[in-house]
Symmetry: C2
Subunit: 702 residues, 2 copies
């Protein structure tokens, strides 16, 4: 797809320069010096030859059949250059030039000209405002990076050119090799999604990593990422997550969720591994690049000192991995060569007199233990040990092994060479046991992801016509906050159980309705202008008699008029009181990038205070719905505590799926809260006791 | 106090060896080669001279006036050697020899002989099984560490000798200097507490760090640490925290708390900074050693690239620091020399063409901004920048500055020399912005600790005699789980409000009692054998009539007899039903090391499910009691949500303090749960609706 970018047979450098220090000079010399074997055409109207290559005055005078143009000319000339490339049938261009939307309104305009030029000429564009592109497979360095990376199987995509440079320099120290390095700049055309898709098929790439500040098209990205992560791991840093600023949300769900949560959901849904810093990005990338997958959770630790062994054990428990039990057979084999005061159980402490060969022998034995899924090797630079020899032994003993092995040689100068030997031989090394465990844990998570069955979203038979009608009626009237009555009608059409009830307009009508429904009842005011009804005394429960209904009606009307003088009152809703059951909340808020985000958690007044909630993006599968429940502490309530019967978990999960379907079917719905959904174990039912829905209006009405 | 250890005028090496590779040889040569200026006396019966020094056949033949003995002989000879030291009036000994409790029962016995020898001879002992001691102030290296550290003001105490070696090697790479390095081994005599106390007064030490696997005397340690941390920061790794294994606890409090929580509480109470890895230990130690304290939370970021700047901002918000607002004055001064497309607001992005001097100029300007409390400087190795020159500029611009400055040069080979220059000039450097922010955040926490007023524990007037009587009666009868009735009597004696109630033995008596108390009532069975009453149907609430009381009594008796056939039933407790209010829990569990741990949190059935709880060690001050409340999400409930009135926070805090006083006054109380404590805003009262207390029995009864 991006073959002209990755494997061009010929490259034109538009703006190639003879002047050292200029970007147009750096790129040309990088391309020549790092061993690119294709044809190179410098373009520069003021030169006839650059670095020994014939120079062309302009794009149109280039020979035919150029595959890729690298553009390093002033920003204002770039759109025309792209048009010219189109005329010359050069279908791929990397725009290095800066001066586009990153400099303000003027640049933004120039960038839209560039976009138009790309679209109308059919030229695919990487950039502008980027560092360029490196493909180590064919030694092609179309960048002005000062550092050329070692060959390897990690691809990196970066939205920050400077960070790209920094990461190349950083990784060189640990001998981390790359397949492709791609700086995406302002991504006027080619973005992270296109690249991840292309890299999925790239045989030279085993791990895709990236630094992103935003994602261009949330939904497309997710779909692509979900497919790619099943082929190879994708590890991303998403920067700029916190300052997003709270949206003005009217629902509980909206006010708890934020951009942060949306990205987390999107990454989780699509199997993308999120790294919180460059350090963890490379911590994770290394283990994926070097080691086989972790097929279970049981980790054995081999050490020559107790302290780090204990720290490793702490870390293993903290991340949810398991300290492997060492089998009797393994112990007796270890006893053949380890000293009697060694520790034969996890952490296997070979103690201070362990020699380099002891590492090799111990590893050989324990890697054969079926009760061990992965191994961490620790070394402290004690007198008896030669870290380089130890590293050699570790490399030897783990060759061809199908279990991941990670190492942590704790120290500085004394262990430096040993560490280097490990890294060159693809044993991932971490300065502390905690970071090694962190990497193993991500490896385990990825395996869980791969083993996850494909998502099947169940569709329920529902009454969409009814919902359509109710929503349209509200939209026509310019109502965004749908009344409780209408909200429940919508939910009922999607198969939710709702309490029996009636809208009434007088005390007597209320009392009649209550008698029909059966006491006790609940009474609530109906007003499109009052969202949090209980805040203004607009909800009364446990009303037990005819007379009490009449009194409550009158009192409520007076109170609400006093407190919200301007609110439109549409009457009072008299409703069956659903007495037993746990109060949970189901909610939805629509993220501009990723669409409907569903929320489940502890309901009632506890929602925003305790925030025991979990999120998933719609549409949701039945497995994911259960996962959402399990992801909260509230789940333990539902499973039955202190002698209480468990509730029907599948029933609650089904409610989440129905809400998901409703969110997907009706994009006008912006936010929903079902709070509480009362879930009763005794009666095995889940009732939407209260609900609110906010919709968007047609443009002419807003 | 430990002056003979730190500044001896003469040292005897008991077991000095001529044989290279032996520990007795390494220590002697370390002592000689690293420049110790005092007298050195090798002791070895089989040599007359070692390394050019006169050798003595045994301790008793040493000249008088030796200050310190370093013992490197087989374990079984060590106790006698200590006795001999005593006879020669050598009052300080470092026992390097291993082979004590770390090898099992035999060694354990030898260690108790060593302990006795130390006590009876009056010789203070460091070790056994340790690496030794280094004091860089007088170039004294009494260790067999292969590495001698740079001079500095960080002291390190380590319970693992191997880790000590590793940390010395580690820190050398970053030019981290040490004042003292002390390996404490099995700490038969001198332990972490003695050392922290001694280091508090050590003028060469500015920061105390340590690696510990356990703490010898919890209470003493805390008291000492609390005093020391007000003088200088103490940073500790506590390893081996997770595997402690859940205790068999009968209270909610006991089952939620663990050893982990106790250590966290103890460290928090005494101002000790806990580090989770060697990496963070040194991350923190460096900033304390090199920089002034952070007097506010407002951090400015200076960068030459956008990406890392954004990552820094994310991190600042995540840890609860504040992104400083740059004043107009500062902005206009920056505009004088920064290019127009730079970003003048936080993060201050000098953009890619920033030169080394730009760093210096920018820092000089922003360090004068009163709205900025601390600064983070970021650098990516771009073409225009010379990292070494930038480092020089940073060092120059921040000289004598009273605000902390940290740096992160992101990269490898290209930034290496710049980083080294920073480190040598005491600008703490971190490989990522996230770790730099982590260090700043710890600095801010420490300032908060220093500013905390001294703790004042209020004592309430209570009826201890009554509690004494109730407890004794139960102990005499061999009852460990105090009945609800007695528990409430105890609480009432300590000023808790309890519901009115009566113990009854027949249905009719129950009904009479209920009529007196007033309906509705609650009924609960009383049995020392049933701890979780509601699990077996032993609690009924909202009983509204005479007849209902009678029915409930009979039903309860039948049910409980069926479900707990062998439980002793002492009757039923009829009790006022406390209807309104939030249900919170107050609890206490006694940690073997640190004493009573108090718990506050959301009560009722939610306790163990939601675990919204916080812990503090008793005795507790009124500030700390409030802190405990604030430390939970439940606090937001108490402050009033959704139109509810706030409760009297001081009243709840007082309850915590009363529980604290009760825990301290009666060490026989092992665990307590007050669940729920019903806290009503309307009536401004807090009632202990249910309570359980577990006590220990006199030894003859257990």
């Amino acid at each position: 797809m991006l073959d002209k970018f990755f494997n061009p047979r010929s490259i034109a450098i538009i703006g190639a320069s003879r002047e050292a220090g200029k970007v147009g000079n750096s790129i040309l010399s990088n391309l020549i010096n790092h061993g690119y074997k294709g044809l190179i055409y410098p373009v520069n109207p003021r030169a006839s030859e650059v670095m020994g290559l014939k120079c062309y005055p302009d794009i149109l005078s280039l020979p035919d059949g150029v595959d890729l143009a690298v553009i390093v000319i002033p920003a204002r000339l770039v759109p025309q250059a792209i048009t010219d490339c189109g005329r010359k049938r050069i279908s791929a261009a990397i725009v290095i030039s800066a001066g586009f939307k990153e400099i303000g309104p003027e640049g933004r305009e120039l960038e839209s000209l560039l976009f138009s030029a790309a679209v109308s000429s059919g030229v695919r564009v990487l950039g502008p405002n980027c560092l360029g592109l490196i493909n180590t497979a064919n030694n092609m360095d179309c960048s002005f990076a000062a550092h050329y990376p070692e060959k390897g199987d990690i691809a990196i995509i970066s939205q920050s050119g400077a960070l790209c440079t920094a990461m190349l320099d950083w990784s060189a120290r640990s001998h981390i090799g790359f397949s492709k390095v791609i700086s995406i700049g302002n991504k006027v055309d080619i973005d992270e999604e296109t690249l991840i898709e292309a890299l999925a098929d790239d045989a030279d790439t085993r791990v895709i990593t990236g630094y992103l500040e935003d994602i261009s098209k949330g939904h497309h990205f997710m779909r692509t990422a979900e497919r790619v992560t099943r082929i190879k791991p994708v590890i991303l840093i998403k920067a700029g997550t916190t300052s997003a600023g709270a949206k003005a949300a009217s629902s509980h769900t909206g006010s708890i969720a934020g951009t942060n949560v949306a990205y987390e959901c999107a990454f989780r849904r699509s199997g993308v591994i999120q790294a919180s810093s460059i350090e963890s990005l490379f911590d994770y990338a290394q283990i994926f690049s070097y080691q086989p997958l972790l097929r279970g959770k049981r980790i054995a630790v081999v050490t020559n000192a107790g302290g780090p062994g204990i720290m490793a054990m702490d870390a293993i428990e903290n991340v949810g991995l398991v300290c492997a039990a060492i089998s009797d057979k393994t112990v007796s084999r270890l006893k053949e060569f380890l000293p009697p005061n060694a520790n034969f159980h996890n952490p296997i402490d070979m103690i201070g007199d362990a020699k380099a060969e002891t590492y090799g022998m111990t590893l050989e034995v324990i890697l054969q233990d079926d009760g061990i899924d992965g191994v961490m090797v620790l070394l402290t630079p004690q007198a008896m040990i030669d870290p380089v020899e130890a590293a050699k032994n570790i490399v030897e003993a783990t060759k061809g092994c199908n279990k991941p092995v990670v190492a942590s040689f704790i120290g500085g100068e004394k262990v430096k060479e040993g560490i280097e030997l490990l890294q060159k031989n693809k044993i991932p090394h971490y300065p502390t046991p905690e970071r090694a465990v962190g990497a193993l844990s991500v490896l385990a998570d990825y395996v869980k992801w791969l083993e996850k069955p494909r998502r099947v979203v169940k569709r329920f038979a529902v009454n969409t016509t009814k919902v359509d009608r109710v929503l349209n009626l509200n939209r026509k009237r310019g109502i965004t906050n749908i009344s409780e009555y209408d909200s429940k009608a919508i939910l009922a059409s999607y198969g939710f159980q709702v309490p029996r009830g009636k809208v009434v307009k007088s005390p007597e009508e209320a009392a009649e309705a209550a008698s029909e429904i059966g006491f006790p009842v609940v009474m609530k005011i109906i007003s499109p202008d009052i969202i949090h009804k209980s805040d203004v005394g607009g909800v009364r429960t446990n009303i037990r008699s005819y007379q009490e209904v009449i009194d409550t009606y009158e009192l409520m009307m007076i109170r609400v008029r006093n407190r919200c003088a301007n609110a439109r009152l549409q009457g009072i809703f008299v409703q069956e009181m659903v007495e037993d059951g746990w109060e949970v909340i189901l909610g939805m808020t629509r993220d501009p990038q990723f669409g409907p985000m569903l929320m489940f958690g502890l309901g009632g007044i506890y929602v925003e205070v305790l925030r025991d909630v979990s999120f998933q993006l719609a549409p949701i599968s039945s497995d994911e719905a259960v996962e959402m429940l399990v992801g909260t502490k509230t789940y333990n309530l539902l499973r039955g505590v202190r002698g209480e019967k468990p509730v029907d978990i599948q029933l609650v999960a089904e409610c989440v799926q129905r809400l998901s379907q409703l969110s997907v079917d009706f994009p006008v719905i912006q936010e929903m809260d079902i709070n509480p959904l009362k879930v009763s174990a005794a009666r095995s039912r889940a009732v939407a006791v209260d609900a609110r829905i906010r919709i968007s209006l047609p443009v002419e009405n807003t």
